[in-house]
Symmetry: C2
Subunit: 345 residues, 2 copies
Amino acid sequence: MQAKAVGLYQGLPISDPASFQDIKVEVAQPQGRDLLVEVLATAVNPIDTKQRQGQVATSDPRILGFDAVGKVLAVGDRVTSIMTDDLVYYAGAVDRPGSDAQYQLVDERLVALAPKNWSVAQTAGLPLTTLTAWEALFEKLPLKAEKQANLGKTVLIVNGAGGVGSIAIQLAKWAGLTVITTTGKPATTAWVKQLGADVVLDYHDDLAKQLQAAGYDSVDHAIILHSTDLYLPLVAPLVRPLGTIVAVVTNQQPLPMDLLKPKSLNFAWEFMFTKANYQLTAMATQGMILARVAELVDQGVLQPTTKRVLEGINATNLKKAHAVVESGQMLGKLVLTAPFDAANN
Amino acid sequence: MQAKAVGLYQGLPISDPASFQDIKVEVAQPQGRDLLVEVLATAVNPIDTKQRQGQVATSDPRILGFDAVGKVLAVGDRVTSIMTDDLVYYAGAVDRPGSDAQYQLVDERLVALAPKNWSVAQTAGLPLTTLTAWEALFEKLPLKAEKQANLGKTVLIVNGAGGVGSIAIQLAKWAGLTVITTTGKPATTAWVKQLGADVVLDYHDDLAKQLQAAGYDSVDHAIILHSTDLYLPLVAPLVRPLGTIVAVVTNQQPLPMDLLKPKSLNFAWEFMFTKANYQLTAMATQGMILARVAELVDQGVLQPTTKRVLEGINATNLKKAHAVVESGQMLGKLVLTAPFDAANN
C-alpha cells in the first residue's frame, strides 16, 4: 500500500527548499515482531538534525523521525505484547525508516502503550528523551529507578532545559535525588525550577564557585547534555571521587581523560539507539521503561515537556521544526501532529 | 626513635648514584588509627619509578615503597582491628612515607593479617597489584567477587604477565570468567598460561583477527594494564555493546572517546590510591579486600606472583629493583626483603 511521508535525498541546509520533500512510499505488512503503526504525532530531536546534515546522497529517500505516538493497524505473526487498535508510543530505531511518515513499522520490544491522560502531542515529546534520561540515570549511573530511592544523593545535569534535561530533572526528583542543573537565561531557569531542579547554576559563570556558594563541595554524579568537549573539563573537578560522568553528545576532539584519573572517576556514554542498532536482548528494556514511564504519567508524577506543537506532518512543518531544533535554543520538545500533510501553520 | 630508610632528594635517573640514599629518619609513635610496623619485605611497582622520576627537589627526603609485609610494633589509641605482634600486609598510601624503611606508619583500615602459608617475599608481591586487580574486576566492572560467580563472561586483560596482570588473571579465573590476555614472547605466554589464561593473543599482531580465530566475536569487558593511549583504540572495537573498559595507566594525549559512543561503552579509571588520598569511607574496603585475598591464598586458590627477590632493603638493592621495573620487562613482581641494610646481592 502507498503512504505519505517526508523524505530527504541528501544532507542540505534546512533553508534549502529541497532539504525535505513530501513523498510517497510503499508500506509493507508487518512481519515477525513488527507492528504497523499509523503515526499520530512525532517529535524532532537533535539526532534528526545531525542525521539530516550527515545524509549522503541517496536515490531512495531517507525518512527521519524518532519519536512517535500512533495507532496499531496490524501486527506481525510473532508479536505477543501489543494488539491492533492499541495506542502506542516509542522512539524506534535509527537504522530503520522513522516516524516522519503516515505509517511506520516498529519492533514491539521498543514499544509501550501510551499514557492514558495526555494528548498525543504531549506524549510524542517523551520517548527518545525519556529513554535517554532513564538509561543515563538508572543504567549508567548507580542509582535506583524507584520513588525516593536515592535520597541524599546529588546529580549535576548540564543543560537542564533541553529535551533530555527537561525529563531527566523530573525523573531524578521522582527518584529522590537532589538535582543541580545549568541554564543561561531567566526563561530556562524558570522552566527547570518548575520541573523541580533544586539548584540552578548559570553556565556563563564559574560552576565550582556557584556550587560551593549553594552549599555543595561536590556532586555524586553528572550527566552532560551539551558539548562534551566543553563541559568534561569543567565537570570533572565537581564530581566526588569514584563518581560517574555520563555524556550523550559525541566529542569533536579527543578528550583529556587524565583529568578523571586521580579520583578514579567513571565515564559512560549514553546512546539510546545502541540496544536496537545491535539487536541486543536489552532492546526489550526500552519497551519496559516506556511502560513504567506511562504509569508515572498516569499517576501525575511527570509533567509534559512538549513546549511547541505544529499541526500537520509535512515537509514545510518539518523544515520549520528542524530550523528551531538546530538553533539550540529550544526549550523542552517540539512536536508535529497529524493530520498528515495538513495545511501548514 | 631513629630508624633506617632509603630516601630520595630529587628525581634522578636510576643510574645516578644519588638516586637513592641510605638515610636515618625519626619514627613517631602511632596516633589514632595508625599502626607502627616493622617492615619485613617490600615490593617495587611502576608507581615507585614514576614517583621517583617526578620527584621535585626536597630537603626532607621522600621515602617510596607501596607494598609491605611487616610485624606490628605498636598501635594508635583508636585502632580496633589489629594488635601488636600481628603480621600484616598492605599497600598503604602514596601521600605518606612508604615501606622502603625499617619502620612505617599505616592506617589500620588499609591493612589485613598476612596469609599464613606464604613467605614474606611471596606476600609482599600482593597488596598493590591485588587491590588494583580486585577493584578493577569487582568494583569497576559489573562482576561478582565470588567463586565461579561469572561463568560465561569474558574479560580481556591487556598485558597479563605484568604485576597487576599476573594477579588479575588468577582472580578472574577464581570468579569464573573466561580470560583472554596479551603477551609478546614465549616466556610471558607460558607464565600467563600457568596462571590460568584461557586465550593468549600476541600483541604484535592484529588483536581482532586473533580473537576471532580463537572463536570470540567480542569480549564482555576489558582491563588495559599497558599504554592507554596505544590500547584504547585497539580494544574499543573488541568490547561488546554496553561493556566496560577499565584503564590504570594515565593517558599522555587526549583520548578518542568517540570510538566508544556507538556501543554506549563505559570507561573507568582504576587508581588504587584514590580511596586513601581522599580519605574516603571506602578506604576500609582495602583492608577487607586484603583479608579476603589472604583467605584465598590460604585456601591454595592463588599462586605467588613474586618472581625475583633481593635480600636486603637498602639503596643499592632499590636502585637495582627500580632499574628492572623501569625497563618494563618485569614478569610478575620484584621484592626486597629484610634484613634492613644487609649486604647487597
